[in-house]
């Protein structure tokens, strides 16, 4: 409202403030967690929260920003999880130390993301020809097929790759609080930067009105596949972290319900709001844990909350609001200046 030139903070200063705050958050909280500030159980919950944040924020690209409704996000997560799991087992990451360990972890994360992104392109090109609900259904179909293939591929081809229904076991546990947090920060950063760029504006234009965007020269198919692939990439990274967190994988984990779970986080937080996705991923992961004392009732309470939020706040908790540190600081700066003027 009151964004006059004197009240805006220059860009380099903004970047500086944000970098300082984020590194404080990452290193401070890692030191706190590793120093025994919280129990092992809480650390585990924090890691799951981090993985869910990546999943929700990445789905938000396709749902909130692009305005499509993919129901197969768990499929991409599965591709990433199995790629990461098989890679980590193959290179025996648990026996490596130092730099080679770090390289293996980074390679596993990138490889999972890339393979999931390849699947994103393969599925995206045919799926994005369709619109609205049909897109939802076809991605649902692809997600289920990925699950069925993961279950049965070993039997058919005679590989020892996914170990079918009995599950991939003894994956090196590479996931720590620190690397989950770094991945969360990088995911949010990359997606934020893409969305603020020319490509991001093209994606938003497609959401607002596809035909209008097309007639203004936006290459709709290209940008749709791009957003879809971006979303798949980070789902794959989250899958790899999940594999390294759990140490064993089963195809049934990545069913239709997992996709729905992620979608619920996005919609509940508010579609198109990264802050909302983060917030609801935290809430929806922490809430069932906090309600563990009421084991029997927690899923009922969870679904009731979902229905009630949708009835009373259909745009999600945050709507399209997004958190911005600089905006808050600018308000603060503007406020003190005005206050100073009145005094003087």
């Amino acid at each position: 409202m009151n964004r006059t030139r004197e009240n805006t903070i220059p860009m380099p200063v903004r970047y500086l403030i944000n970098t300082v705050l984020i590194s404080l958050l990452v290193f401070g909280s890692t030191a706190f967690v590793n120093g025994g500030g919280v129990s092992g159980y809480i650390t585990k919950v924090l890691m799951v929260i981090g993985i869910n944040i990546i999943l929700a924020v990445s789905l938000n690209v396709a749902t909130g920003y692009l305005g499509q409704l993919p129901l197969g996000h768990a499929g991409f997560m599965a591709v990433g999880a199995y790629t990461g799991g098989i890679f980590l087992k193959a290179v025996n990451a648990d026996q490596a130390t130092g730099i080679s360990y770090a390289l293996m972890v980074i390679a596993a994360l990138l490889l999972s993301g890339l393979l999931a992104a390849v699947f994103g392109v393969i599925i995206g090109i045919p799926a994005l020809r369709l619109r609205g609900d049909y897109l939802a259904i076809i991605t649902l179909g692809f997600g289920e097929i990925i699950r069925v293939v993961l279950t049965n591929i070993d039997e058919v081809l005679g590989f020892k790759l996914t170990y079918g229904a009995s599950g991939l076991k003894r994956i090196p546990k590479i996931t720590s609080y620190f690397n989950v947090l770094v991945c969360v920060v990088l995911t949010c950063l990359v997606i934020h930067m893409v969305m603020k760029s020319r490509h991001g504006r093209a994606i938003l234009a497609i959401r607002e009105n596809e035909i209008a965007a097309e007639s203004c020269g936006v290459r709709t198919t290209y940008y749709k596949v791009m957003a879809f692939t971006l979303s798949a990439f980070f789902a794959g990274v989250a899958g790899c972290l999940y594999a390294g967190y759990l140490g064993s994988l089963q195809p049934t984990t990545f069913g239709f319900m997992k996709s729905i779970e992620i979608l619920v986080m996005v919609v509940l937080g508010g579609m198109g709001s990264m802050f909302g996705s983060v917030l609801s991923a935290i809430t929806l992961t922490a809430l069932p844990e906090a309600l563990r004392a009421f084991e029997d009732y927690r899923m009922v309470a969870y679904s009731l909350v979902l229905v009630l939020v949708m009835i009373f706040k259909p745009t999600g908790l945050m709507g399209q609001y997004d958190f911005s540190m600089s905006r808050i600081l600018e308000r603060f700066v503007g406020f003190t200046r005005r206050f100073g003027k009145k005094e003087g």
Binding site: T63, I138, V149, N152, Y302, V307, I311
Partner: protein, 295 residues
Amino acid sequence: MAFLSTLFSQIINGLQSGSIYALVALGYSMVYGIIMLLNFAHGDIIMVGAYVVWLSMTSFGLHPLFSILLAVAVSTLLGVVIEKVAYAPLRSSPRLSLLITAIGISFLLENGFQLIFGAGAKVVPTLISGPTFQIGGASISTPALVTLGVTVVIMIGLTLLVQKTRLGRAMRAVSEDMGAAQLMGVNINTTISFTFALGSALAAVASALYLSSYAQASPTMGSMLGLKAFVAAVLGGIGSLPGAMLGGLVIGLAEALVSAAGLSVWKDGVVFAILIVVLLVRPSGLLGKPMKEKV
């Protein structure tokens, strides 16, 4: 000859499960046609119906026929109540919110029933008993015959209802253009409620037919059944009644033939692969009307 009789038995099995899918698919299709909602809670109505049958037969000792009628009544009521409580307030909000509400209701029913009755499967007493007929080496059980017969009768009845009655005309009008239908004096709320009631009643019938050959009720039985039926509805062309029937039969037959070929673990994969191929070649489904996009 042995191969032919196996094939014939599998085709009968496929037709039987296909008719059940078709009945459930009709509910999805009608609701989608009228308010453009993928009603994820529809599969769980089947589950509720199955529990009503189980409870009324084991605890109250009702005759199978009465317990099925009771299940139909309860499901119909439930469908209408869900529409009034959860979907009606959201009629003017974004469609995704409506979808999430439907998912929420589905979770609520599944978890609620799990809380009340426990997660284990309940064995339902025999609903339909009768001899197994032998035709040239292939056997057809009475439940299979009853399923096919009931489905055919319901399909004919439903077609007459939609094509010939005043309410059916209202349904078609609302699904064509809700605003215009309202201006012509069609009561939107009654029509939507009626559609939900009809869909839920069909789901309860499907539930009884399902129980007659599988005899088990569990809180999550509706989710996969519902998903397959939903695929059937899309395959046939969502919003089209003959399409839902055709889609159901295609899915049922495809599953049976894949099982007959000894590949039953790939059953789900094949169903979704058929769906993808059909959607890519004919995005509006086998019998659906192609949608035109206007600026």
